[in-house]
Amino acid sequence: MRSGWAHNARWGLRAVQAAVFVLLVVAWELSSRWGWLDPFFFSRPSSVAERVVRWFATGEVYRHIYVTSLETVLAFLVGSLLGVVVGFAFALSPGLSRVFDPYVKVANAMPRIVLAPIFTLWFGLGVLSKVAFGVTLVFFVVFFNTYQGVREVDRNVLNNARMLGATEGDLVRHVLLPSALVWILSSLHTSVGLALVGAVVGEYLGSARGLGYLIQQAEALFDTTGVFAGLVVLAGFVLAVDLLVTSVERRLLRWKPPAHVEEVV
């Protein structure tokens, strides 16, 4: 009974969400056709859709998507790996964390965007400079969560494992790492999102490929339709990445008690 109701409520919600979308697009299209909005500045949905379709039809957009994905994945992996390793080191050695605490704070507070030009200088216009930029964003999120996750492990849980004969390595593998993983996973959406931001912003600031480049290029030519088309492709890409992250999260957190409420309004 209840789940039937929940089911209906969910579909009702989806219908309303879709209606809002259709309404906005139609309003935009008509305003532009009737001259309320200048198509030079605002383009119009039909032109945008046409452009997106053409990009995919000619296949020219694929290499941009490929480059952006590659940068995102690399930034995420490298940033996470560094974050986990350094997070562990800091959590397990109080001396280290005491010495480097101010450096970490300053580095984290610094607006990372100022680094982009330096990275371009160091690593060139290619994939590497975007990855480096993304890494500086992802690293801190993963680092802080790992640190927290390791520090938060219950002392009794650790002692129980020790009494059962765990070596230090066993503790890391069976207790500390999984515990940190819970924290890292809880910020997975954020860190993957930041890897993507790193890639796109890096491309936007200087490159010859990627979705950020696509948008920047259109903007330079005052091609509003191109900018919007780029945004649409980017939005689709972000959505796909987010769905992927959610499914990974579900799989890895199977053991967790479900959050008590289903997403029923």
């Binding site: 002692n159 129980n160 494992a161 059962l164 765990a166 053991w255």
Partner: protein
């Protein structure tokens, strides 16, 4: 140095042990002081005392998780260094790993001993069956009741076949029926395997029903054993039936007289 009893017969011996803690306001709180305690191999000793007197601290000393400030801890005649490898410890708190299933939690000790996975898994299943959890192997801790989690923890402790079992109020959070079932299970296993047990409890009835000897700890600070009562009730016992024995009531009254004084003192002194 002279030995009171030949080595080998004494599983645990605490001599003049003291342990203190730093308090948040910068002072020092002496939890245990002058603790002398002997547990013979194969003996079931119950430790009772008012709340906060230092029962868990005493177990931690025997487990090697805490070191005494003064005095010594010996295990089978040898001074204890580091973790007590001959003991297992059933904690007062819930300590199962939430990301491992019941079976994986139970086999943990064998994994740490590098027993091949399949063999460890088989043994874990057998132990889960022994504590009445057949069919729950693949549940995660949050999918088990409090009593079931305690059973998993018990199996997790017993699978490593420890010589000494340290238990800290293992059944305190259980309902009466589950509790009696588990107490009987424990007695049966103890009878079969003749382990040395040091069992902490708030519950004097439980202490008498299970043990060979009840040790009463005084109220803190500087708590120490202030009374020892041998329990001469016949074995094997059933925890529900043994309570009807007239000797049980007698003993209960004698221990309670001492314990009540300590409980009241703890209450008046406060923490």
């Amino acid at each position: 140095m002279k030995l009171a009893s030949p080595p080998g017969t004494c599983a645990v011996r605490l001599r003049r042990c003291r342990r203190s803690f730093r308090t948040p306001d910068g002072g020092v709180y002496v939890a245990l002081d002058g603790v002398d305690l002997e547990v013979r191999a194969g003996e079931f000793v119950a430790l009772v005392g008012p709340t906060g007197c230092g029962k868990s601290t005493l177990l931690n000393l025997v487990a090697g998780l805490l070191q005494p400030d003064a005095g010594s801890v010996e295990v089978f005649g040898e001074p204890l260094v580091g973790i007590n490898r001959r003991a297992s410890y059933l904690f007062q708190q819930d300590v199962l790993l939430p990301w491992k299933t019941a079976e994986e939690n139970v086999m943990l000790g064998l994994v740490f001993r590098r027993v091949p996975r399949e063999q460890a898994r088989r043994q874990a299943r057998a132990w889960l069956e022994r504590v009445g959890l057949r069919g729950f192997e693949n549940r995660y801790p949050h999918q088990l009741s409090g009593g079931m989690r305690k059973r998993v923890a018990l199996a997790q402790n017993l699978i490593v076949n420890p010589e000494i079992l340290l238990m800290d109020e293992p059944f305190a959070a259980l309902d009466v029926q589950t509790r009696q079932l588990m107490e009987n299970d424990l007695l049966r296993i103890w009878q079969e395997e003749r382990k040395t047990v040091l069992f902490v409890t708030h519950d004097l009835e439980e202490a008498i029903a299970l043990s060979d000897r009840v040790v009463v700890l005084s109220a803190g600070p500087a708590a120490r054993p202030v009374g020892e009562f041998p329990v001469e009730l016949p074995r094997p016992r059933d925890v529900t039936e043994v309570r009807l024995d007239p000797a049980f009531g007698d003993l209960f009254r004698r221990v309670w007289e001492l314990l009540r004084g300590e409980v009241l003192r703890a209450f008046r002194l406060g923490p």
